[in-house]
Every structure is written in C-alpha cells, then in structure tokens.
C-alpha cells in the first residue's frame, strides 16, 4: 500500500520536481549521451574489425623482420610458395622522393611490392585500375600528400633513390592503414622488381621485410604455425595472423574508446553531483509537505520512496534524452576519430550500449539523490505543528552510512566497468572522488573563513555579497564543485597536451638543429659535409649508428636466458629487440655518469675487452652492471664488450640518445651508417640543400624537423581531439550544474533583492552585491580547479608519459580570469529580474 501511495505521490509532485531538478537532469542527459555515443561506436568499431578482419591484414599470415629473412625462414617461405601457397613480399623503408621537374623533394615511406597483395580487401586508387597495373612497368602508386608536396600529378615521374617511376595513380583507401601515418611519411608503392635499381638497400638502412601468405584453411594455417613457430622465434622473425590482428586491434580500440568513455563518464558523475545538490535544496523546500504527510500517517519509508521515485523518474527522462542525443552524437564520431581508425566504420545502434546508458543514467541520478533524501526520513511529523522546530542536527546514522557507501561503491563499479584496465578504473574513481571532496572542503573552508573573518568594515554591498556565501540556502558548495570541476578538466587536458608537445618544440635558439640527415653511408660523410658547407651550414654533428642484437650476457646465450625460468625475469623485448648503438669519446649534454668511469679516464678492463657504457633503466631491465660482459651480434659478427659505466639519460629532450655507447675502438671494424643534425635557417636555402643532397646522394634521407614537428602536432591533435570532444560534454555538464546551482538560489536572492529595493537599495548596489558574491565564488573555484589540475597533470606527465613537467603560467592565468568572469556573468544574468523589474512585479511573480 505504501509503495502504491509513494508512486502516486511521486507522480503528482513530479510537476514541481521537474521544475526544480529538471535542469540538473540536463547534465545527466549529457553524461549519458557521451557514454552511449562512445560505447555504441565502440560496438561499431569492434564489428567493423571483425567483418573486415582479413582485409585489415590483407592476407592470412604476415611474417616480418627488420633484416633479410635468415635462410631457415626464407626456406620455409619458399617451400610454401613452391607448394602453391600464394605469396607476396613488401619491402619498406624511409627514403627521399624527388620530382625531376619541380626539383622538390620529400621524405616518404617506400614500399616495394611483389605478388598479388592484398589477398583480401583492396587498395582503392584513382584511377581505379592503377593498383592492377602497378607491376606492369616502372610505375608508382602514391598517397595524395606526395603529389601535392612535390607539386606534380598523375602521369609525372618521381625519383626514388637512383630510379625513376611514373605515377599512375593516387591511393584513395587502404584497409589496415591509419591515415595520419601519411603526415610523417606518405607512402609510395613500386614494383619490387625495381627496388634494386633505387640503390637504397644498403648496410644500416632502416628496412622492414614482410611476406604475406594466403592460407585460407584455418587448420592448415595453425599446423603451419605450430610447425614453424620455433624457427621464426629462433631467428627473431615476427608474424601476425588475422586472429591476432583482430585481437590486437579490438583490444587497442576497446582501450581507446573505453578511455574516451571515462572522459565522458565525468560528465555523468558531474551531473550526479548536480542532482545531489538540487535534491538537497528540494528536500529543504519539502520539509513541510513531508511533515504533513507524516502527520497523515505516511511512514518514513513511504515518503522516502516517494522522493526517490521522483529522482529515479527524472533520471530516466534525462537518460532517455541522453540516449537519443548520444545516438545523434555517435554519427559525428567517425569524423572525430576517423583518422585513428584503420578502416571505414559504419554507424549503427548498439543496443547494449543504449540499455547500459539508460540503466547507468537512472542509477547515477538515484544514487546521488540518496544521500540528501535520507534526511527526509528524519523530518519529524511534529514539524507540521511547530514550524520553529529546530532542524534535526545532521548526525551519522546507519541509513546515511548505507547511502554514502552505495554512492562510493557505485562510482567505483561504474568506473571499473568503463575503464580499459581495472587499475585505471581505481585511479579514475579515486581521482573523481578526491577532486570532488577537495572542492567540497574548499567550499566549506570558504564559508567558515568568510564567516570568521567577515569584512565588518567593508562597504555595505561587499559585506552583503560576502555574507551570501554562508547564509542559509547558499549554493556555495554546488557552485564551487561544478565550476572547480569544469576548470580542473579543461586545465588538466591542456597541461598534459602542452607538456607532451614540449620536448618536440624546436628550439628557436640559433644553435639548435632543424634538419635531420640519416642513412649516410660511411664513405659519404665527407661529401655530405662539403655540400653542407656550400650551403652555409655549420659543421655537422655526426653520429655513427650500428644495428645489433644481443646474443649473450656474461657468456650465457640469450636463448638460454629466455628458457631459464629460475633466474631474474628479463623482459623479452629487452633481449630480443634490435638495438642501435653508437660510439664516441665523450658524454653527450643529455647524459650524466652515475657509476663507473668513462674510457678516457678508466683503466683498461682486466679482461682486455673494449668498454661500453649502459643507460641505467636498461641496466635494471637486463640485470647487469659494471663488470658484466655483453656479447653483440653485428650482422653476423660477434663483439663482446664489458660494461664500465652507467649513465642517466634525459630522454625527454628531443635528441638522439642511446641505451649503449661503445668505446670507439670496439666498433672500428663495423661499418656504421651516419646520422647527422644540422641547421639551415633560410627556408629556401633548406629546400635547395635538400634538392642537391637528394640529387647527389639519393640514398641519404633528410627530415625537416619543422615539418616533423608539424606532423607530430597534427597527429597529437587528432589523438587529443577525441579527448577534447568528450571533455566538451563534461564542461557543458559543469555549466548546466553551475546554472542550476545559481538558479536554485535565485528565488532567495530575488526575495532578498526585492526587499532591499523596497528598503531603498539602488540597482547598482544590488548589482554590486551579486558581483561580489559570484566573483568570489568564481575566483576561488577557478583557482582550486587549476591547482588540482596542476597536480593531476604533473602526475600524468611525470609518471604515465615519463616526461618533464612545466607549468605555463600565462594561459592558466587567462583561464582563471575567464572562469571568474563567466561566473560573475551567469550570476548577474540570473539576478537580472531583480535589477530590471520594479519590486511589485517580482513579488507577484514569486507569489505565483
């Protein structure tokens, strides 16, 4: 019976609760919209990956290595081909492409193709038959960026290394490729038959060898892998299958969208805070109604249920609107995230996401309403007789404890549900709760401080404005939380993005390099240096580079270490990766010796082995230190060295850094490729130098660091676009909560303003009172939000991205000012009725 009444009463009271709490449900709407949009889109991505799985790899098996396949592997691949398995090879490397006509050049990603790749899906070109004609001659199919930047068109020729190709088509689509890759190195496809002619494959070139096989039957593929897996592993050759590709891609995009979902979830939780604050005020207004209901015989549970049902019903309306908005927003997501996706994703409704959005929306609205609603239970029926009855002091009760516990548990469960990793869910939930608690504490402190240190001697309008901060029915806590949270979010995203970009910012100092030359062969360094001098560039900083793989530590072969499970665990990547070493006489400016001695002062090793210096982190990973011996495989030549010093390296600087630096005599016999940094200020001069360099030394590649930085920025922009897009929801949600909080206190302010006006206050005075109040709130909330953002951004930058942290003061100050002005603006906007209208009109409006 009581439930029936509770539902009926909830429906009737709904008319007024919609007016009072409805605005806040807009914040729930935004939160649910963000979640539904991203989670439904995640369903679409997963579906697209599944349905296009084979096209994404282009084959059933891809085998790759950074050097030519060793004989055992090549043997396996050859015999598979001989047995009739369709096979294609792709050999790719960075190179310079040059137009013989316009004389312009650009760093590109060259891919030499042999065979009918891709076996699944297709590479779309304009004209459409270009891919099919690629193998028919000295043809090239290129990305649009190449023709645009070299100022040429289809039909023109392009030179790569020492060979010229005719461009027969532009790539319009290629599954499995992410479009922003082309910002760094746009692709040029050529037939593998002509790769040799380019002369680009030289010792030390950054080549990637791939072979694609079409083995349609899954059992056969599995048999093949079972049989040869160990051969691939032993020869450090990697492979990808469609299933693995699907798993990796699915996981990557699940993680990405789940992370974006977390950003969206913030909007919902912020809405929850708004609901809690609105319900708190709402229940205060309902004290009398509740007391009368209790007099008439309603039980505590009945009145509590009646109001909880109202919150849940409004939550449902908000969430339902959120679902509709979310599905609309989902349609825009391909534009926001499209550049990060390796395929076209068609938008469709994911019903699971819709239902989850509805449930979470209603749940958040209800659970946040719970805590303020618990106090409804404590309203004594006697209050109907005695209005002056003191408010029951807030004390801890079991029901309050349960409500608080349910709230915290809900935040945690929803965070864990949405987060890509449980750890991130915990950190997120902790961060959200911590931020809200800190903002709340700030608000309480503000109220206490203004009450204690009340500016008694200040002008009347100031005193009145400050007093509004702690008077009954104030909205100080809600405004500070909403504003502070919004500011916190904006500032954190800005600070993290800015700090990630910081190391890539090209130093404008006269000494800093702006050109990066690589793949210079040993015998070309003199010539390249001469050419640089001709173009007025300062002397080269040359760095020799020699690739090598680890073959043994203290005489123990790597395979043995990997097979041994009893010793210290050394990560596989650290043992198997290809290292690029250098040798030199001195420490670099980014390095600092923390143990041992450099070879200019160190005594020769007792073993007589050449010395090597190791970076501290990799030393930890490999569990080695001074005195340990390491054996390297330099393209088949074994070289054993002894560790004689440990360095700390500042990786955050955009410079070349190395895990291992060798004593020069150790590598005297191995031919290095050279990389070099230089600086040419004038843009035209820089272009001329590149042109001459590519003409004389076609195998040498040159990257314009300014262009590279631009490309990096654009990539980072695309990555952060999603984050910023989702953050928009939280900011909008914050503004709604802010509006709501201010509007909730509007009636009190108006009543007070009208009274003041009746007593003779001018509009200017009332305006000043409002301004004082809201400017104080805005200033303090903004400052708290920015300080918290500084803290969280520092944590993210320092520990997640492992970069140096800088705090840019000017933009933050601007944000602070903006927040204060915005708050004051919204406050004055809300009070405009008092300012404009004559007192009587307002009194009538309130009476209605």
């Amino acid at each position: 019976m009581s439930l029936r009444f509770a539902l009926r009463h909830a429906r009737r009271e709904g008319r007024s609760s919609v007016r009072r709490i409805g605005l806040y449900m807009g914040a729930i709407t935004l939160g649910v919209a963000a979640l539904v949009a991203i989670n439904s889109f995640r369903g679409n991505i997963v579906e697209a990956i599944r349905s296009e799985s084979r096209a994404l790899l282009g084959a059933d098996l891809e085998v790759h290595s950074s050097r030519r396949f060793p004989d055992p592997v090549q043997g396996i691949l050859d015999s598979a081909a001989a047995a009739g398995v369709p096979r294609s090879t792709v050999t790719s490397l960075p190179s310079m492409a040059r137009s013989p006509v316009t004389e312009m050049s650009r760093l590109v990603h060259l891919r030499a193709i042999e065979g009918d790749f891709p076996y699944y899906g297709e590479i779309g070109t304009d004209p459409t038959d270009a891919w099919g004609r690629l193998q028919e001659g000295r043809h090239a199919v290129v990305e649009a960026t190449v023709t645009a930047q070299l100022d040429i068109a289809v039909g023109d020729s392009v030179t790569v290394g020492e060979a010229a190709f005719q461009i027969i088509g532009i790539i319009t689509s290629s599954p499995g490729e992410v479009s922003f890759q082309s910002a760094v190195g746009p692709r040029i496809y050529i037939p593998a038959a002509y790769l040799e002619e380019t002369g680009l494959i030289q010792f030390g070139s950054l080549v990637r060898y791939q072979t694609y096989l079409q083995i349609e039957d899954n059992p056969t593929l599995q048999d093949f892998l079972n049989r040869y897996n160990s051969v691939f592993e032993d020869n450090q050759v990697g492979y990808n299958t469609v299933a693995e590709q699907v798993e990796n891609l699915t996981e990557a995009f699940e993680n990405m969208t789940r992370f974006l979902g977390l950003v969206g979830l913030t909007a919902l939780l912020l809405g929850g805070v708004g609901v809690a604050s609105a319900v708190h005020v709402y229940t205060k207004e309902k004290l009398n109604t509740v007391a009368v209901l209790r007099c008439l015989g309603a039980t505590q549970r009945t009145v509590f249920t009646a109001y909880l049902v109202q919150a849940a019903a409004l939550g449902f309306l908000g969430a339902a609107a959120g679902v509709i908005l979310g599905l609309a927003v989902q349609r825009t997501l391909p534009n926001v995230l499209g550049d990060l996706l390796p395929m076209e994703v068609s938008v469709a409704v994911d019903w699971l996401a819709v239902v989850a959005g509805l449930v979470i929306g209603v749940w958040v609205a209800s659970v946040f309403a719970l805590l303020p609603l618990v106090s409804v239970r404590d309203i004594p029926p006697l209050r109907a007789l005695r209005r002056e009855l003191e408010e029951v002091p807030r004390r801890f009760t079991v029901s309050r404890g349960v409500a608080g516990g349910a709230l915290l548990a809900s935040v945690l469960v929803i965070s864990l549900w949405q987060a890509p990793l449980p750890a991130l869910g915990w950190v997120y939930a902790g961060g959200i709760v911590g931020t809200v608690v800190l903002l709340w504490v700030t608000a309480r402190l503000l109220m206490r401080m203004t009450r204690r240190h009340f500016p008694k001697r200040a002008r009347y309008v100031i005193r009145q404005g400050v007093a509004n901060l702690f008077r009954p029915q104030n909205q100080t806590a809600a405004v500070i939380i909403a504003l502070g949270f919004g500011t916190f979010l904006i500032a954190t995203i800005y600070l993290v993005q800015r700090n990630i970009l910081e190391p890539f910012t090209i130093d404008s100092g006269a000494e800093a390099p702006n050109l990066f030359l690589f793949d210079i062969q040993h015998d070309q360094q003199e010539g390249v240096a001469d050419l640089l001098r001709e173009h007025g560039a300062p002397p080269l900083q040359l760095t020799p580079l020699i690739p090598a793989r680890l073959s043994a530590i203290n005489g123990r072969p790597v395979d043995e270490i990997l097979a041994d499970s009893s010793g210290p665990v050394i990560p596989r990547w650290a043992l198997r990766r290809e290292y690029r070493h250098t040798y030199r006489d001195t420490l670099a400016p980014t390095e600092e010796l923390i143990a041992g001695e450099w070879w200019d002062t160190a005594a020769p090793t007792t073993s007589g082995l050449p010395q090597v210096s190791i970076e501290q982190d990799i030393a930890d990973e490999l569990h080695v230190g001074i005195g340990d011996r390491v054996t390297w495989d330099f393209q088949g030549i074994p070289v054993e060295v002894e560790i004689s010093s440990v360095r700390r390296v500042n990786w955050a600087r955009f410079e070349l850094n190395f895990f291992f630096v060798f004593e020069p005599r150790a590598l005297a016999a191995a031919p290095p490729t050279i990389i070099a940094f230089t600086r040419i200020d004038d843009m035209q001069q820089r272009a001329n130098f590149q042109r001459d360099l590519v003409r004389q030394y076609p195998n040498v590649s040159v990257a314009d660091l300014a262009l590279l930085q631009e490309a990096l920025e654009s990539v980072l922009d695309k990555v952060t676009l999603g984050v910023r897009f989702m953050a928009l929801f939280s900011i909008a949600s914050g503004i709604i909560v802010l509006f709501g909080a201010i509007a909730t206190s509007r009636f009190h302010r108006i009543r007070e303003g009208v009274l003041l006006k009746t007593l003779g206050a001018t509009r200017k005075q009332i305006g000043h009172i409002l301004l004082t109040e809201y400017l104080t709130l805005g200033t303090l909330a903004g400052l708290t939000g920015i300080l918290l953002a500084g803290l969280s951004a520092w944590g993210l930058v320092r520990f997640m991205f492992e970069l140096d942290f800088h705090l840019p003061s000017a933009p933050l100050a601007a944000l602070w000012l903006g927040v204060a002005v915005l708050t004051a603006g919204i406050g004055l906007l809300n009070g405009r009725d008092v300012l404009k209208k004559p007192p009587l009109a307002v009194i009538r409006e309130i009476a209605e």
Partner: protein, 228 residues
C-alpha cells in the same frame, strides 16, 4: 478514547533541559469535544502532539483507543495515525503542489483505498465543505477559508476516530473562522468523531463540551460546558 497518564515532555534547549509538560493526567471520552486553552508557551501544542503520537513523550504513557502509543515504533505510529487520526492545522498545511482533490485523496491513498470508492469519498467530502466546484484548484488559488475547508475535508477523509485541530481559526478572519468551526462541529457530529482542539479563542473554546486550561506545562483547570 484517549487516556494520558503521567505525561511529561522535556526538550533540551541551548544545552539545558526545558520542561514543557509536567505530569499530565487526562481522559477524553469517545465522541467528546475537548478544547485545550492557555497562554503561549503553556504546552498546548506539545500536548496535542503527544496525544496524536507525533512525538515520543519523555515520561508517561498515552493510550488511544486502547493502544499504548509508547509501545509502537515510528512506522507503527504512522500507520496508527493513517487509520485513526485526522489533523487540522492553523496554517492549513495543504501540500502546495497538489490540487484540492489530490490533497483530500492523500489519507485515503495512504490507507490503500482504491477505485470508485476513492473518488466518491473525495467528492462527498469536498461537497460537504462546499467546494465541489473547486476540485482542481491548487492551494495558492484558494482563499484562506477555502484552504481550511479543504484541510477539513482531508482531515475527515479517513473517517478518523479522533480529530486533532491546532488553532484551526488562527489564520482566518472572524466570520470565516465561525463558518469553519460550524463545519467542524457538524462533521464531528455527522462522523461521530472525538475532537481535540487547541485554541486561544475563548469563543471557540466555549463551544467544546470540556475545556482544560494549561499553564506552565500543567493542567490548572478542567471544566465541562453544558451539552451542545
């Protein structure tokens, strides 16, 4: 119908105990009309609240219709009120967000009355108080007297055995006040309800068949008027 034995109430005010009622012993017969009078602060409203089970007494017990209120839980007291008690307040205490019709329905719905019976009873009551044409008006759209008439209709909705009224005419002009009292006495008679009324108004008190006077939290006089 109502029996109070050794009833006392002490509140804590500013950290010090404040005794509002002391050792009240009182019996009200079924169908009676009791007026409680006395100066402000004499404990009238507190006594009313205790007799109606709105609060727990510091000492003593109250039996209403044979039920010991002190032996009931908070929820049991609520249910007891829903079935047995009606209220009329000085400030009417209509729920501002509900119409006249809905305000009257509240006690019936709390009792779980359903369907046609619900509507019929509501219309009957509002007709009885002369507001059959104002069913869908909100309290703010009604005059003070009309609001109190709705409150009366609400108070009688659950056919209470006892009606408690706290200064029911206190916020009304003299004429309207008279009309309300007439209506209350009439309803009292029609529905055979016991009536307990707190008032300042000597004229109103004179219409009761028994008047107790409180001062300093104690009964200082208990007089019976002639039959009405």
């Amino acid at each position: 119908m109502i029996e109070a034995i050794g009833l006392g109430q002490t509140y804590s005010s500013g950290g010090r105990p404040l005794t509002v009622l002391k050792d009240i012993n009182l019996t009200v017969e079924a169908g009676g009309f009791l007026a409680i009078v006395g100066p402000s602060g004499s404990g009238k409203t507190t006594l009313l609240g205790l007799l109606a089970g709105l609060d727990e007494a510091s000492s003593g017990t109250v039996f209403v219709d044979g039920v010991n209120l002190a032996g009931l839980t908070e929820d049991e007291r609520s249910e007891f009120r829903a079935g047995n008690v009606g209220f009329v307040f000085q400030t009417f205490q209509l729920i501002p967000t509900l119409t006249a019709r809905e305000n009257v329905l509240v006690p019936l719905e709390l009792l779980g009355v359903n369907g046609n019976a619900l509507e019929e009873r509501m219309v009957e009551l509002l007709s009885h108080v002369g507001l059959a044409d104002r069913l869908d008006h909100y309290p703010a759209q009604l005059s003070g007297g009309e609001q109190q008439r709705v409150a009366l209709a609400r108070a009688f909705a659950n056919r209470p055995k006892i009606l408690f009224a706290d200064e029911p005419t206190g916020n009304l002009d003299v004429d309207t006040g008279h009309k309300i009292i007439d209506l209350m006495v009439e309803l009292n008679r029609d529905f055979e309800t016991t009536l307990v009324l707190v008032t300042h108004d000597p004229e109103l008190a004179s219409r009761a068949n028994r008047v107790i006077r409180l001062s300093g939290g104690q009964i200082i006089s208990d007089t019976r008027n002639g039959d009405k």
